[in-house]
Structures are given as structure tokens and as C-alpha cells.
Symmetry: C2
Subunit: 184 residues, 2 copies
Amino acid sequence: MADESADDAGAGMDLVAEARRNWIESGLGEVDAMVSATSLARAHQIVLGRINQALTPLSLTFSRYEALALLSFTRNGSMAMARMGERLQVHPTSVTSTIDRLERDELVERTPHPDDRRATLATLTKAGRAKHVEATKALEAIRWGMGEMDDARLQELNADLANVRGSAGDNVSGSLRTASRGQT
Amino acid sequence: MADESADDAGAGMDLVAEARRNWIESGLGEVDAMVSATSLARAHQIVLGRINQALTPLSLTFSRYEALALLSFTRNGSMAMARMGERLQVHPTSVTSTIDRLERDELVERTPHPDDRRATLATLTKAGRAKHVEATKALEAIRWGMGEMDDARLQELNADLANVRGSAGDNVSGSLRTASRGQT
């Protein structure tokens, strides 16, 4: 009986190469783009799976970790929720549900915005700040799910991913510069 | 008021470069790995968003498309559901819910496996086969969400993503070979 767990399932066959072969044999176009999209989905599944596995013992997910990280880099540990959506590049309803959960876990508090009564601030609690530090250490320890790729390979990957992001209108000027020169 | 849609939100600032700066200023480690994981998540969000946008008018998602594609490349348009989970690298419960929906839309039928009464086959219907062809054309037309990246850049990206996949134990021998030599 074959192992059906997601990580081991494909060990016997290069599934992306197999998709490529099927594509070429069927005379379908845009084979490199198809392979990129498929590989990107698989790589994301692997890396996010590892990250979430490292965060589960801390009762966090990557989305909630990202929200904590964003707040922890502000001056007062505080940001308007609408602005958080822009910075995390997610829909406002996702921010709401992420903050709901973080508030329930007492890692974040909602407060009215002092200068704009229509807006709500999310503010890191002391426990939220400590949780962010703890989770960052846990992610560092697994090298953010990137396996054994060395820094040179990671920088290459980052430059390529910056191209994908740039193709969607993301500002990637800083990423392309740092990716080609290494750390600044 | 800033635009909060996921695709345009970051246009004013390179958010990944900003994360990199915060990391370095805070003296945190594994900055390239952090950037890779963050960029991978964002690139995946962009590409999957475009793909799902192209598939929505056809009442499909990428997961359901992948299941149709997998079946369409078999000899009889048919595969055991457990085997589909292995090939799609997803959990058996995901295969079940994907096939449930495809069956409801009359694109796939469940039948008992002729040689193994514990197993269930998913089989493409005629409508399912036509839907696969139609959806493949729709994805070709948007170059699988890869924007304006040319084939050389896509092949570079594919080699880098094969490294990520390989780090999780995926067999990537075919991908590394074809990525470095272009199409075979």
C-alpha cells in the first residue's frame, strides 16, 4: 500500500516532470508557465505546511503570526485594521477574523482610533509581543521551512519570486536590488 | 482612501524589502529564508488568484481543475481515489470533497473498482472531458497567471522551485534536468 501522506506521496515519481511530459505529448501550449504555476503551488504547500507545523504548538498559524509580526514592527505595537489589510495584502474580512482570534487569545486588543472614529486599531498586548518573539525563534529554527537551501539559492529564488510579484504590480524595486546583491 | 484590494495594495512600497529591513534592524537571523517564505506566499497568492479568476466563469477552482487534468491524462479517464490523493499530493479527505463537487456538477462519476472492492474509481464524464479542454484553454490564455515572465525566466524559477520541492523529499530529478536544458 502506498503511503498517502502529502509529503511522501510523490517520492516515487517527479510529478511536475510528469505533468510536463503529458503537456508536451498532448501538444498543449505554455508548458513552462503551467510547470511554474504547478511547482509554485507545490512549493507553497510544502513550506506553509512546515511553518504551520512549527507554529501549531504555539497556537498560531502563519496568518496570525504575520499579523503579530506586522504590529511588532510598529512604534507602539499598534495599527489601524484597514492599514493591516493593505500591508498584509489580504481582504479586510480576513484581517477581521485574524484579529478576532488573536484577541480571543489575548495577544491583541482592539481600541478606537484616537484620530478617526470610524477606524479601529489593533494593538499588541504584552503576551502578544512575547508570543511574536517565541514564534520567530521557532521559525528561525526551521529556517522558515526552506529546508537545506543555502543563502545563495534562496537569494536566486527571491529574485525570481520578485519577478512574479512585480508582474502583478507589486513594488519590487527593493527586492530585486537586495536579491542581486545579497544582504545590504 | 487607499485601495485595499489584494493586488494593488502593495504598489506603494516593496513589502518584502520592508520585511527584510525590519529583520536586519532587529538583528534577527535567517533573513533570506524569511524573505523566501514570505515571497513564496505572496507569489502563490497572486498566481492562484489569477488562475481561480480565470476558472470561476467555468465553475471550477484550481483544485477541481487539477483533478480533471489528472483523470484526463489516464488511458480511460479513470483513477482510484486513493491514488488521486497521492498524485495530487493532498489528503484523502480533500480528494473526497473535490470529487463530491465534481460529481454534483456531473463532470465525474464514482464507480466501484473492478479489481478491488474496497476502492472507488473516479471517472471523467464526457462533460468533464470537455470542461477540462475548455479550462486548459482559459489557463493557457492567461499563461497560468505567470504574467509577463518569459520562458527563460520561468525555467529559472522552475529550477529554483524544484530545489524547494526536493528539500521536502519530492523526486525532482526530471524537473532539474528539464529546467536546466529547457524543453526536452
